[in-house]
Amino acid sequence: MSEANAKSMSIIVTKGTLDWGYPPLILATTAASMGLNVTLFFTFYGLALLKKKLDVKMTPLGNAAMEMPMMGMHMQMPNIVGMLPGVDSMATSMMKSMIKKKGVASLEELRDLAVEAEVRMIACQMTLDLFEYKQEDLIDGIEYAGAATYIETATKSDINLFI
């Protein structure tokens, strides 16, 4: 397959929780393995996915669609329980152990595969300034840019997604 005809995809990554970290990383790595040129633009909470040591969390709060497989059924957690201290950690641990048990890749592994596949990773400089993150807090080898860089990439991409 010729490089010149390769399709391309860009994704704006705006969320940084454990569950929302999956869609952009799965799509990016899969597309890259199918020959697409992929760009990920991380902004706002998406920056959490670029931290050197990933510490992503998950909360059942406010997610009416979240049901965990437990005791042969799917259990939902009422918001009032989700608000209690420690529940988010529990939900995060539970999710991570489900992921491991079912042979699903960890976010770390997917991110490593994305870097290896030469997915272009851009961190939104404005978000860094806004939340007072430093470039040293994030992984090496990424670009720092703004919206105009993203827009230019998007005009040339076959697929543009907002996650």
Binding site: T29, S33, M34, G103, A105
Partner: protein, 75 residues
Amino acid sequence: MSEKTVLDVKGLNCPLPILRAKKAIKDLAAGAILEVQATDPGSVKDFDAFCRQTGNSLLGQQEAGGVYTFQIQKN
């Protein structure tokens, strides 16, 4: 007769079967065959799409006891 390399991705879920296959194919010579063994039912359509998109040939596909086997020839 092209030699066959076997890739065992049983127990791994999407997108790992595809990602691992892509890595394995990269190291093969043109014409070589990669045999992938997976348990992920989603991989059936995925390998079809993968081959179509990357220009590799899906020579065959079998299922037995929950294990899906694909023969992919690198072009």
